[in-house]
Structure formats: structure tokens, C-alpha cells
Amino acid sequence: MGQESKRQGYIRQAWLVILLAVLYGGGLAGVQRALSDKIAENKRNETYHVIPALVRGADAASTVELTVTGKDGREARVYQIMDAAGGHVGWVLPAGGQGFADRIELLIGLDAGLSTITGLYVLEQKETPGLGDYITGESFRSRFQGKPTDTPLVVVQSDPTAENEVRALTGATISSTSVSGIVNAAVANLKEPIQRQAASGGGLASPEGGE
């Protein structure tokens, strides 16, 4: 069989699969386009709902949304958290990355100086039920509370001995490592740009926040 006729054979066999893949892909793109705004809005509402739990003294209604250009060159949305009196009390950084099964999306609460983690919330995850999905539980999330951001967090299998160590979930080391990895990456990517923007003054109060 010649190369050409072989190729024709493949096409004849698989044309339906190829056609369906294109049609379904187009259909899903349409669904994504139609629903993505609504899904993003749902996530934003949930973010505002959990802000008081992530940063102590936060008044969710006074939150200022800023766009910061991270070290990776991409623009990221961050939340500047205010208390009821208008004082700056902290930050919430949305961050995401690959987990064990699918993408994990987190909200990381930080103090005003971006030096300590004040809270962690899992916005989206599809980890293994009964093992990895315990990352959403308070007992795991609270292990990140009070951790410093100057050194990257390290996941350990026993009780932490150093300040930057976080104990893994039993049976879900990959999910635990993924969460700490996402936190480390987000802090490394955004800490300095936010501080720079804060130091330059103007950007802080304006929602656009560009430099």
C-alpha cells in the first residue's frame, strides 16, 4: 500500500471521529463563551463572601480590586482588603495551578505587608474524593495560617519543625504539595510587584492600578 492510499485509508476510517471532534469542540467553545462570565461572577461573589475569613478585620464591601503585572509578565487581579474604618489590613491573591486530578484555584489571604499568610481558601478543586479533597477542610487550610512568605513553604510528612514547613495530608501528598506550590508560585510572582506598586503610591487606591 502506498503512502498516499494509506493516508486515504485513515481518513476514510476516522473522518467521523475528526468531524465530531471539530463539531463538539466548536459547541463547547460556544458554551464556554456563553457561561464563562456567569461562572467568573459566581467565583467573585464567593471570594467576597470568604474575604472576612481570610483577613482579620476585613470589611468585604470596602475591598479594592487591583490589576498587577506579575513577574511572569501577565496581569493578575488582586484584592486589597480594607477594614470598616478604611485602613489597609491585608491582601487576597487569587492563584491557580495543576493539582492531582485537575486545576486547583486558591484564594490566599496575606497581611498588609505581604509577609505572613493569614488565611487560605480553596475556590475550585476536583481532587480525589475522600483523600485529596480534604484540602478544602479547615484542618488542612489552617496549617498555612501564620506562615511567613519570605522563604518558600515546604511540605513535610511529620509535624513541622521549621517555620516554613507545612504538614501534608495523609494519603494526599500530591494534592498537599500542589497547594503549597501554588501558594509559593503566587507569592513569588506577585509579592514584589504589589509592594512596588504600593510604594509608588498612586496605584493603590485606583481600580486600574497600572504603573
Binding site: Q13, A14, L16, V17, L20, A21, Y24, G27, L28, V31, Q32, L35, K38, I39, N42, E46, A101, D102, E124, Q125, K126, E127, T128, P129, G130, D133
Partner: protein, 225 residues
């Protein structure tokens, strides 16, 4: 050679169709009780065990599964004449995954809290054997009406099964049904019923009861003859 294969596939299909070709009504009725996906075929055990701790998640799952099952059945039935025997599973999976993704996105957009509660179980509908088995047994061999009736019947049967398990678990485990209090305030909610062991206990007991009823009916039918 290819023509011979096609002929052989067609004659095989004709043979199967001639042997067993239930009508749309038969397909519909069989799915509800006589061939109930959970109690008679033991298919779709993952969602059956995982999301039946309450009526609300169970019925959301039943609706999502029904949407996927009916749409996949219709789609596969429409293209059944074009299916190549050795590529059919690929086409089934592609079709099912597409409708599951639509259901997942729809839930995330319109029922966000429920979508979070169900978590990975909605994407896991892709691997629910109930759906691929209906594509294989019915939709890839029978016409549009029959395939749709089969999908609706099986969906009702699946919903009925999930509802029966969720009812027992939610009432005993939380004292509520669809979130409404139905047990007296003094009811000590049996926590274990909403936890995984409660799912296995309930499914086992209900399965036993269903089997017992089926046997009794079979005996009665025999005596009747």
C-alpha cells in the same frame, strides 16, 4: 476486503436486530424497573454511593445524568449508520464527554453551590457505565424514537434508585428530606447514614429487598403457570 468487512458488520447487526429489537415503549418501561440501572444492572455505583447523602445532590446528579444519557442516546442513534465497529467506543466517549462538560459548565453557572458540593462527581459522569452501555446496547442499533425512549426510561430508573437511597439516608442521617425537617426534633440523627458506610448499608439492604421482591414475583409467576 473492506467491502467484505462492511458486509459482515451489516449482517451481524441485522442478526442482532432480528434477535432482539424491543419497541420504544418496551425500552422505556424496562429502564424504570425491570432493568433498573442500579437495582437490576448494578451500573453507576459511583454516583449511587457518593451523592446520595441528601435528596438535593442526588436529584441534581439524576438530572445531569439524564441530560447526558438522553442527549448521547439521541446523538449516537442519529449517526449509528456511520459508526465503524472498531471506532464506536471512541465516538461514544467523545459524545458523552461533550455533554458532560456542558452539564458541568451549566451547573457551575446556574447552581454554583450545588456544583461545588458535587465537585468531581459531575465530570465523573463521563465514566458512568450506564451511559456507554445504553449507547452500545440500544442507541447504536435502534432508531431515534426508541433510543430517546430508552434514555428517558433509564434516566427515570436511575433517578428512582438514587431517590430511594437518598431518602433513607437523609431522613435517618439528618432527619430531613429535601432539606425540610420531617422527623421529630428529638430524633438523634444517625450521623453514619450520611457518611460513606451509610451508603453501602442502605444500598445493600435496598438491593436485597429488590432481589427478594423479584424472586417472590418470579415464584408467583411460576405457580400461576
Amino acid at each position: 476486503m473492506a467491502a467484505w468487512h462492511r458486509l459482515k458488520a451489516e449482517s451481524d447487526r441485522d442478526l442482532i436486530m432480528a434477535q432482539d429489537e424491543p419497541t420504544a415503549l418496551e425500552r422505556f418501561i424496562r429502564g424504570i424497573l425491570p432493568e433498573n440501572p442500579v437495582y437490576r444492572q448494578l451500573l453507576g455505583m459511583c454516583p449511587t454511593l457518593a451523592v446520595t447523602n441528601g435528596m438535593q445532590p442526588a436529584m441534581t446528579m439524576a438530572c445531569a445524568t439524564a441530560f447526558v444519557l438522553i442527549c448521547a442516546n439521541i446523538m449516537i442513534s442519529l449517526i449509528r449508520g456511520l459508526l465503524k465497529p472498531h471506532l464506536r467506543i471512541l465516538v461514544f466517549t467523545l459524545t458523552i464527554a461533550t455533554f458532560v462538560t456542558i452539564a458541568d459548565k451549566f451547573l457551575a453557572a446556574s447552581m454554583y453551590d450545588m456544583s461545588k458540593q458535587l465537585g468531581p462527581y459531575v465530570p465523573l459522569i463521563i465514566v458512568n457505565c450506564l451511559i456507554i452501555s445504553r449507547c452500545e446496547i440500544c442507541a447504536s442499533k435502534q432508531g431515534l424514537g426508541t433510543a430517546a425512549a430508552d434514555g428517558i426510561g433509564m434516566s427515570l430508573g436511575f433517578a428512582l434508585a438514587l431517590a430511594s437511597i437518598a431518602t433513607v439516608r437523609e431522613i435517618l442521617g439528618s432527619g430531613t428530606w429535601f432539606g425540610l425537617h420531617v422527623m421529630p426534633g428529638s430524633w438523634p440523627a444517625w450521623g453514619i447514614m450520611v457518611l460513606p458506610p451509610g451508603a453501602f448499608l442502605t444500598l445493600g439492604l435496598l438491593l436485597g429487598a429488590a432481589e427478594w421482591v423479584a424472586q417472590k414475583r418470579a415464584e408467583r409467576a411460576k405457580e400461576g403457570k
